[in-house]
């Protein structure tokens, strides 16, 4: 099987869905000429009735896609910048996500909210550096953050096939990750053990999975590290998290969301009933806006250095 870049895997997934199902359409800003790269070539292949460049009006085109999805279409809505999902937050969380419940099951909304290049990239500053998966996870929106090329392919297709709204954050720092696309992958809401180990569990998702795998390989002579790839920010696969923690009894959680009220906090809460050998440690963003200067940005987001430091601490940690 060919090794592909994560970004290519996303593009392939979208194209394969559009080939397999003519109800799949793409709507967003600059999707015809593909500023973000994932939709490249789709407009010329599928035409302007299936690849729609929308004027800058995220609230309207998000609910427009919602409406289209009630009449048999499967819209993929691309948000060119992660924080544009904040502009359309009401439409995603208060309209699309709630429609099925509020109508007593009469209306389903099979939209996919796609954020290509989520997260910080060095110098994008305060309004362009979000990796907003926790905002949607907390609202109960199915939210996936693929950590490998294979998951980029399969989770994107799963998101499009899902009859409910799904948010897919494709981290910028993962776009270049290479891998083979497996014949299949687990569904939304299922975590996997990406690397087996016996002495410490790193629980994480997105671009932090390859970071964790790299660090685990580096330290392999010293410590047997297990890496759990959550794959979804909602639902959280508590079963897999708990099983890993019960096995290794030392946990480091790495989360590209802000520290307070984040996904790492959720993982720790899920582990409350597990008898660990030491308190779990979380590596997260700061509760802060990302400053422009790259040297400042690097202080406030998870890095491999911080993961290494957390593992060193975790080895020595004990309960007081």
């Amino acid at each position: 099987m060919a090794v592909v870049r994560y970004q290519r895997a996303l593009a392939q997934a979208l194209r394969d869905e559009m080939l397999a199902d003519e109800s799949v359409i793409v709507i967003g800003e600059d999707v015809r000429h593909s500023l973000r790269g994932v939709t490249k070539g789709l407009a010329s292949e599928f035409g302007d009735r299936r690849v729609l460049d929308a004027p800058i009006s995220e609230q309207a085109f998000t609910s427009f896609a919602l409406g289209a999805s009630t009449q048999g279409m499967r819209p993929v809505i691309e948000y060119q910048i992660p924080s544009l999902t904040f502009v359309a937050f009401e439409q995603i969380v208060n309209q699309a996500q709630r429609m099925h419940l509020m109508t007593g099951g009469q209306i389903s909304v099979p939209i996919t909210c796609f954020i290509p290049g989520s997260g910080a990239r060095g110098g994008l500053a305060g309004q362009h550096s979000d990796n907003p998966y926790t905002w949607f996870a907390h609202a109960g929106v199915k939210t996936v953050v693929p950590g490998s090329a294979s998951d980029a392919y399969h989770l994107f297709r799963a998101a499009i096939r899902d009859p409910d709204p799904v948010v897919l954050c494709a981290p910028a720092a993962a776009l270049g990750v290479k891998g083979e696309i497996a014949p299949q992958e687990p569904g939304i809401g299922e975590a996997v053990v990406a690397r087996e180990g016996s002495q410490l569990s790193i629980i994480t998702l997105g671009h932090l999975v390859p970071y964790a795998l790299d660090v685990a390989d580096e330290l392999a002579d010293d410590l047997s590290i297990e890496v759990v790839d959550l794959r979804s920010a909602f639902p959280v696969d508590r079963q897999t998290i708990i099983a890993s923690a019960q096995k290794t009894r030392r946990v480091v959680v790495v989360d590209d969301a802000n520290r307070s009220i984040g996904l790492a906090a959720e993982v720790l809460a899920s582990l409350a009933g597990v008898r660990l050998d030491a308190p779990a440690i979380r590596v997260t963003r700061a509760d802060a806006t990302i400053p422009f200067a790259p040297v400042l940005e690097a202080q406030l987001i998870p890095t491999k250095e911080k993961i290494r430091a957390a593992i060193s601490r975790a080895k020595e940690e004990r309960y007081v």
């Binding site: 009449q71 099925h100 209306i107 009859p163």
Partner: protein
């Protein structure tokens, strides 16, 4: 059958629908006072000619999106009265199985994409739905209902742009009843309300919303035009709501309008004009029939079961995630 008697028949059908709406709203006020309706309700009383006039020209496959003041739209589109009362009274037999209530009442089988608790929110939904239906070969038209309070909401203006740009046959039906809760239209809207449509290259028409003949005519013309030419149109209806923003507003002590103003608009009650068209005798007979329908519908709702508490998480998802919900 002569042209006159089928005209009479149509006029009576419209009167019946308007009477149904009025009787439904009057009844819900009683039920709310008795504590049988949880949450807020927002009566459509006074605006009946708009919903009935517009829905009169719709085909079965057409779509509508409604507002928080949505009972009139739903009844005009044929929603079942018993299922509507049951929904408001939080019963499992409600249109939405008791999951939505007054502000979210929907009937997908009749193209009623739902009442909506957020001002202006229905417009982009029905626009996307109508666009999608047309892409798949239909000649669907959509109606976006909203009030004067919505015309400065960004998402509505964005939607008017999209519908004009992409040739989506939407009738933007503005029910200008003069107030958004306590703020008058004059105090909220800079410039001319309907002229906003012109800025998007959209045709706009002013209509007397208290006159069923006028709303039927305007509705037919707008819907036919939208359907044939695949383009949106903006209708501004002059109308009034008798009951205040929500049921029981009188008890809130907000005195933003006068009794004298309400009385002036009562004199233009759309039901009076409609009764004059069909004749007093027929109007009385219909009123009695509708009254019986309402009683039966309420009895149905009252005798229906409440949802099982254990089903509180039902319908959260079309496909429940692996592992279930907590």
């Amino acid at each position: 059958m002569s042209a006159t008697s089928s005209e009479q028949g149509r006029a009576e059908a419209r009167h019946r629908l308007m009477r149904r709406i009025r009787a439904f709203e009057d009844k819900l006020a009683e039920l709310a006072a008795l504590g049988e309706i949880p949450g807020p309700t927002h009566e459509y009383s006074g605006q009946e000619a708009i919903a009935v006039g517009l829905c009169d020209a719709l085909a079965a496959s057409d779509l509508i999106a409604s507002t928080h003041r949505g009972h009139g739209h739903s009844i005009a589109r044929g929603a079942d009265l018993g299922a509507m009362f049951a929904e408001l009274m939080a019963r499992e037999t409600g249109l939405n199985h008791g999951r939505g209530g007054s502000m979210h009442v929907a009937d997908a089988s009749r193209g009623i994409l739902g009442a909506n608790g957020m001002v202006g929110a229905g417009a982009p939904i029905v626009t996307g739905a109508t666009w999608a239906a047309r892409q798949q070969g239909g000649d669907t038209v959509g109606i976006a209902f909203f009030g004067d309070g919505a015309v400065n909401q960004g998402v509505l203006l964005e939607t008017m742009n999209l519908a004009s740009l992409w040739d989506v046959p939407i009738v933007f039906a503005c029910e200008n009843n003069g107030y958004a809760i306590s703020l008058s239209a004059a105090e909220s809207t800079s410039g001319d309300l309907a002229l906003r449509a012109e800025g998007f290259g959209m045709r706009h028409v002013a209509v007397d919303g208290m006159d069923i003949a006028a709303t039927v005519r305007a509705g037919r013309e707008a819907i036919d035009d939208a359907r044939e030419h695949g383009r949106p149109v903006f209708l501004e209806f002059e109308t009034y709501r008798y009951s205040g923003h929500n049921t029981g507003e009188r008890h809130l002590g907000m005195s933003y309008r006068t009794e004298e103003e309400i009385d002036r608009w009562r004199a233009r009650d759309p039901l009076l004009g409609s009764a004059a068209i069909i004749g007093e005798e027929r109007a009385q007979a219909i009123e009695q029939e509708v009254s019986d329908e309402i009683e039966a519908a309420v009895a149905f709702a009252r005798s229906s079961a409440h949802p099982d508490p254990g089903s509180a998480l039902d319908h959260m998802y079309a496909q429940t995630p692996a592992g279930g919900l907590e």
